[in-house]
Amino acid sequence: MEVISFDRVSLWRRTQEEFSYDIKQTIFSIASGKYRVPAKKLIIDNVNLIINAGEKIGIIGGNGAGKSTLLKLVSGILEPTVGKVRVRGNIAPLIELGAGFDENISVRDNIIMYGVLLGFSRREMQERIPMILDFAELNDYELVPVKGLSSGMVARLGFAIATDVQPDILILDEVLSVGDQSFKNKCQHRIDKFLNGETTVLVVSHDLGFIRSSCDKVIWLNRGRIEFIGSGPETVDRYLDTVAV
């Protein structure tokens, strides 16, 4: 069963080459006749792609190849300019850990808020609190404001919340393990569970060793185009050949 499909998808975005966007300058440039429509750039170029349920997909490519943008299209944060993206099932983005926290409210309130942002109800999150605190090893900190935690603890909390659920599609963007060594092992264990389970996983990483060994299929992106799709070792080797000095 296909869970993600890209049908001739292209995306144009504003380049953000202006240093600032403000009223003063806009009025000024219109008045002096220098106003021009902001330039747009092709970020994703005619991508066709089908991902089936349970597949573990790796995405590789140089900086600015469009890897993260592709993931944003999958999660619906960006809409394609041309073509169609179809996604079936609920998506859990393993977001940059801690991006959604408000450090002025308690760990408990943050768990609920973070969960609601990810698409759960408050009641459901209340039931999950003990499990999440347990995994993050933060049982003593339930009522402490997040600013009172160390950065490692915050990262642990973020990981624990985002992975507490078994999503249909899991998106990993360069965040694989956090915290001290013992917690890293715990994270690795949980990620392995996703990788060996039913969940469809999309990973963006520069860790080619990890991609080669854990992904069924690897997509190599180059300047917004799919350069090659194939098995882990094959794609990674081809990619390495082109970047070899």
Partner: protein
């Protein structure tokens, strides 16, 4: 991890929207007041101080327009300030609400409008707990008879209009701020113009009759008029004034919502 987790109840779009708004508005209130319930009453500090200030400075000069009663001038100024204070606070906070959550919007798919909406809802809660009881008490004290209950029941109507106006302006400026980052500078000026052009601390009679019709272009003007009529006049609520206030609110909300939706597809390129 138990397999039962798979059954995570998928929320409908409306449910999700409501969950998001209540959790974000709840955070807003918590951060502001740190859980202490009395904290909300601090929101009365500013309008009450301003009222005192106006009374001291302008009271002597303006009371002749209020049946020579300083008390009447004070109450008129206070009701006007209650409106403008809510408007200023909620829209200024809504202004930065989308840009301020840019990093979140880049990580998770969210309906963007939850950010300005939750700010307005948090401020409405503050209004209901802090200002509203005070307005009810004033209404009752001015005409302590049965008919004042009708007036008390009517107070929420102009306040609803105020809410709609703030929501509409909140949508408008929060989306414009994505494209024009110097907007707060200009919006301060707009706020000052609105403040000065809604007859809060001066009687409308002192304005040149040629200019006066322009004051009515101010969307807050009918709200203040209606609220004063309900609370201070002692007469039954004027349906015409209420309707005009609500109409003003409806129009502003529609304009704000249309602009917001027109600009929304372009947000993500600049966040």
């Amino acid at each position: 991890m138990a397999m039962s987790i798979k059954t995570n109840s998928r929320l409908s779009a409306t449910q999700r929207y409501w969950e998001l708004v209540s959790v974000l508005a709840g955070r807003e209130i918590k951060v502001r007041y740190r859980g202490s319930f009395l904290g909300v009453y601090w929101s009365l500090f500013n309008p009450l101080t301003m009222t005192g200030l106006y009374a001291v400075i302008f009271g002597a000069a303006f009371k002749k327009y209020y049946h020579d009663s300083l008390w009447e001038y004070i109450l008129a100024a206070f009701t006007g300030l209650a409106v403008i204070h809510f408007y200023n606070g909620s829209t200024a906070q809504a202004l930065t609400s989308i840009v301020g959550n840019a990093s979140l919007l880049n990580k998770i798919k969210l309906p963007v409008s939850v950010f300005p909406v939750s700010i307005i809802i948090a401020n409405t809660f503050q209004l209901l707990v802090g200002m509203f009881p005070l307005l009810v008490i004033v209404t009752f004290l001015l005409s302590p008879n049965l008919s004042s209950f009708v007036n008390i029941l009517a107070i929420p109507l102009p306040l609803t209009a105020l809410l709609l106006i703030s929501m509409g302006i909140g949508f408008l400026i929060s989306s414009l701020y994505v494209f024009f980052r110097d907007l707060p500078f200009f919006y301060e000026l707009v706020q000052f113009v609105l403040m000065l052009s809604s007859p809060i601390f001066y009687p409308a009679e002192i304005v040149d009759p040629i200019i006066r019709p322009f004051l009515e272009l101010n969307p807050l003007y009918p709200v203040i008029e209606s609220l004063r009529q309900i609370i201070l006049s002692g007469a039954l609520p004027d349906i015409f004034l209420i309707t005009r206030a609500l109409l003003s609110g409806g129009i502003i909300l529609a304009i704000g919502w249309i602009c917001f939706n027109w600009l929304r597809p372009k947000f993500m390129d600049l966040l």
